[in-house]
């Protein structure tokens, strides 16, 4: 009976409803935006009522088909009410749909509808700030997909097929749509996890989503590569270098397959397709650069912690290259997990319980990545040669990025790249045992930053100029300390040219701190009475450093010594006075203040002693 009704009337009503909802609604006037959708709703409700009428009269087998058709109708009504801003009613229909499908979830006729319905409910609960509920629902959807694929496998019907006179889908199209629905489930899970505080799971699901996009072929390569490279940065900040490198290599690989665009027309961003591709390549280079930089920095940190602990055992472990798991613990914890599979740390019920081989879950299997991944290690480095290898890769990417991000035209980006390059040298220098060579590395840093500084207009790039001045001052200070250490190691009084060098470095460091301090002056050239929050600590520390530097000058002339001590005192006194007049900020510069206070008392005494010898 029901079948006849559908053949004669029902299917057509459904087709009309669909047409109204999907096509005609686009022409609805601004004043009546839901006109067509309301009409569609009427038709759907009518149809549902009719089918419900038939339900009691029908045979068992026909009953199931009817049930599933009703369920799908409830789904479409749910969508209809949601789209017309009647979400609570929409929710009721989605719930009815889900309920009706209990016991039929593995049915080829409705499993796709079931997943779609659960997806909608998931979204709904997140929008009501109940992510826990949403998570359960979406996980159910994920499980149903897995179970269906494992136990049944037959491509399920497309949406609308149950309510259409002919089966319009092919196995291929049906499978494709089913996969799309599942990908959306994963994508929604990726968005739900952060609301529960689980970024790690979110990242894994983003990875999975990217993986499925790759498999399906439905993706825009430039966007895909950009997203993958961005994901790599998440892993880099979590010290998961293996995963980070994999994402970077994948991004590079996909991007390298994009053909050279020929069209020169500019898009809405005033950029041609060629420029856009070049820019994206440069961005990915910068992501690689960050990878190398963080790897070196984390390696340095690990060794410094070890030096502090003098733990031989841990050092050997590191040398063997313990894998770094992407867990939430500090890197100290990671060292213990050296032999465990990194992905296992993700948790038993993560995406890794799907296939037998867990590692494959977080890799993009279809990509050929050996060359790209092999160019740099994913393990923390422990000696200079290893560090240098990473450094060279980082430097390669600096140059690659600068091909697009030239100074004039991309000032901000060029500056950031240069700052990263400087930090790359700095990280490398830690592994260089020879002080002279170390000093040379710092000199490279000073040179590149000074040349950059000379190009920048302080008026427009004030913030960045300050950062650079400060960094240069620190570099010269560092070089000074190295030269002094070299002289001391020589175990004799420093030679004339070494003295000159040391004094010159002290002077250069001082002048750059001074440049920085001068940049804080107000329009009338006076120092502000009160520093703003972001410049406060640097300003005080700069004064402290200058005070310290004046005491590093080597001179046999007591007059010169007195002058330097006097200047030293001025700067220490500045810090003391500022903290006195602003007692609430003293905490920020606690250790420096202690020394400044001490020196401001000691120096006058020392100076007096020298004056006495002169008189």
């Amino acid at each position: 009976m029901a079948a006849m009704y559908l053949q004669n009337q029902g299917f057509e009503e459904y087709a009309s409803a669909r047409r109204l909802s999907e096509e005609e609604s686009r022409q609805d006037p601004e004043t009546e935006p839901y006109k067509s959708k309301y009409k569609a709703r009427e038709l759907l409700l009518q149809l549902a009522e009719a089918l419900q009428g038939f339900q009691d009269e029908s045979q068992a087998e026909e009953n199931i088909e009817l049930t599933l058709q009703l369920a799908e109708l409830w789904f479409h009504l749910g969508v209809n009410f949601s789209e017309t801003e009647e979400v609570p009613t929409g929710e009721q229909y989605f719930s009815r749909c889900a309920e009706l499908m209990q016991g039929h979830k593995m049915d080829q006729r409705c499993v796709n509808t079931c997943l779609n319905c659960l997806n909608q409910l998931g979204i709904l609960w997140v929008s009501r700030s109940e992510p826990e509920k949403a998570l359960k629902i979406l996980q159910e959807a994920e499980d149903i997909y897995k179970m269906y694929m494992h136990n049944v496998g037959q491509p399920p019907l497309l949406l609308h097929e149950l309510l259409s006179p002919e089966q319009t889908g092919s196995p291929k199209s049906r499978q494709a749509e089913f996969e799309k629905t599942h990908t959306l489930t994963l994508y929604y899970l990726a968005q739900t996890y952060p609301k529960l505080g689980d970024n790690e799971k979110s990242a894994a699901y983003c990875h999975l989503t990217l993986s499925r996009q790759l498999q399906s072929g439905h993706f825009q390569p430039i966007d895909w590569a950009t997203n993958c490279a961005t994901l790599s940065q998440y892993y880099v900040t979590r010290d998961n270098f293996t995963q980070g490198r994999h994402c970077l290599a994948s991004a590079s690989s996909v991007l390298s397959q994009v053909p050279e665009p020929s069209d020169e027309t500019e898009d809405g961003e005033n950029e041609s397709a060629r420029e856009k591709l070049e820019r994206r390549k440069a961005d990915i280079s910068r992501c690689w650069l960050k990878y190398c930089l963080v790897l070196l920095q984390e390696s340095r940190q690990a060794l410094m912690d070890d030096i502090g602990e003098l733990d031989r055992a841990k050092q050997t472990d590191l040398a063997k290259g313990g894998a770094v798991a992407g867990s939430k613990g500090s890197h100290n914890d990671d060292k213990q997990e050296k032999s465990e599979d990194p992905e296992k740390a993700e948790g038993a019920d993560g995406p890794g319980c799907h296939h037998g081989d867990e590692k494959s879950q977080l890799r993009f299997e279809s990509l050929e990545l050996t060359a790209l991944e092999d160019q740099v290690t994913d393990k923390k480095v422990t000696d200079f040669d290893q560090a240098r290898a990473v450094f060279l890769v980082g430097q390669k990417y600096v140059n690659a990025a600068k091909e697009f991000y030239v100074l004039d035209g991309h000032v901000t980006d060029f500056v950031e790249i240069t700052q990263d390059w400087s930090q790359l040298f700095r990280a490398l220098s830690f592994f260089e045992q020879d002080f002279e060579r170390r000093c040379k590395m710092h000199k490279r840093r000073a040179d590149m930053l000074q040349s950059l500084l000379s190009e920048l207009n302080q008026q427009h790039y004030l913030l960045v100029c300050r950062q650079i001045m400060y960094e240069i001052a620190e570099i010269f200070s560092e070089m000074l300390d190295l030269k002094v250490a070299i002289a001391e190691a020589a175990d004799e009084r420093p030679k004339v040219h070494a003295v000159k060098k040391i004094n010159s470095l002290a002077q250069q460091s001082i002048s750059h701190y001074q440049m920085f301090l001068d940049s804080l002056r107000k329009a009338d050239k006076e120092m502000p009475k009160t520093f703003s929050e972001d410049t406060l600590r640097p300003a005080l520390v700069a004064n402290f450093c200058v005070g310290r530097l004046y005491s590093k000058f080597l001179s046999s002339d007591p007059q010169v010594k007195l002058q330097n001590m006097s200047k030293s005192l001025d700067h220490y006194q500045f810090v003391v006075d500022y903290c006195t007049s602003h007692p609430d900020i003293a905490e920020l510069v606690k250790s420096e203040l202690e020394i400044c206070t001490e020196m401001s008392q000691l120096l006058p005494i020392q100076m007096e002693k020298i004056r006495l010898t002169l008189s």
């Binding site: 700030s129 998440y234 992501c287 960050k290 100074l407 000032v411 008026q459």
Partner: protein
């Protein structure tokens, strides 16, 4: 007669009638329906103008849904043939007056030793494209960055002005163009940002040295906040706390959100700043002063948007 969902507790608290408990928001200043335009200017404009004359950059933003009064706050009522001299004139006209007042006082104090030059420009950002509102034939302008000029709009007209009245005229002309573009070119003003910029240059001779100082005052009428959901309106990144993005095209945003949460400079996020953020970059950090005026409609019908605006404003307060 509409029911209200807001209550103001002077001078700086506003309470929203939420269920189950009302929510309190504290700001530097809260103005209710009785607050005069003059008072608003006093709270927001004066300090910024003073610091601009003192050489610092400054920006005043007006944020809120369409119809919440952004334009009224920034410009005033527009029906009086664009006459910006009456009682209800807004922040921008008052800023002109105060600014030129201060300048002439400085000029009097210092005489020939200092010279002030003031220029202004007026642009609109629609669909991430920049249009010059002082050029009726304007087709998208390029946002560039170079060493000499910093970030600038290539080809933007800058009009010299020597008095508040002249500045008004520039503003009027530009505003008319905006309305024209809105109807004839479909550049709906509720979906675009308008940026009026005053550049103040002072040349001072001190001890044989010529000191040139330059500062900018940006007055921004932001696109209707309800339009943030439109993919075309970028500029103020408002992250809806509760929503899931249905389309895979937003996967990039989801991933970016993960990286944003992570700290500092140990990562590179390959996305492009909106044109607005990039344009105002110099004016939003370091020595610059920024004020956001959040406009809300007290009617209960606007509850959702009002809540959204207040939450945004509260978050904005916490951003450095």
């Amino acid at each position: 007669e509409q029911s209200m969902c807001l209550a103001v507790q002077a001078p700086n608290v506003i309470v929203m009638d939420c269920k189950p408990d009302p929510r309190r928001y504290t700001f530097d200043h809260v103005a209710d329906i009785n607050t005069t335009q003059e008072a608003v200017f006093g709270a927001v404009g004066k300090k910024i103008i003073e610091s601009c004359v003192g050489g610092y950059n400054g920006t005043i933003f007006a944020y809120g849904q369409t119809g919440s009064g952004k334009t009224f706050t920034m410009l005033g009522p527009l029906d009086d043939g664009d006459d910006f001299r009456h009682e209800l004139r807004g922040v921008i006209p008052r800023s002109f007056e105060y600014l030129f007042n201060l300048i002439s006082r400085e000029q009097e104090k210092r005489g020939d030793a200092v010279e002030f030059v003031t220029r202004c420009s007026f642009l609109e950002i629609y669909n991430e494209q920049i249009f010059d509102l002082l050029d009726t034939a304007s087709t998208g302008l390029h946002l560039r960055e170079n060493i000499k000029k910093g970030v600038f709009v290539d080809g933007l007209i800058e009009q010299n002005v020597t008095s508040a009245i002249e500045a008004h005229q520039v503003l009027s002309a530009g505003w008319v163009n905006r309305r024209v573009a809105s109807t004839s070119m479909n550049r709906e003003s509720s979906r675009s940002h308008a940026v009026f910029t005053l550049t103040i240059e002072s040349k001072e001779k001190k001890g044989g040295v010529m000191n040139i100082r330059c500062s900018q005052l940006n007055l921004v009428d932001l696109a209707g906040s309800e339009r943030q959901k439109d993919t075309h309106t970028a500029g103020v990144r408002l992250k809806e706390a509760g929503s899931i993005n249905k389309s895979l095209s937003a996967l990039g945003n989801v991933i970016m959100a993960l990286v944003d949460i992570a700290h500092g400079k140990t990562r590179h996020v390959p996305y492009r700043d909106s044109k607005l953020s990039f344009l105002l970059r110099d004016s939003l950090g370091g020595n610059a002063k920024t004020y956001i005026i959040a406009n809300v409609h007290p009617g209960s019908k606007c509850f959702g948007e009002t809540l959204s605006t207040l939450n945004f404003a509260r978050r904005a307060k916490m951003i450095k």
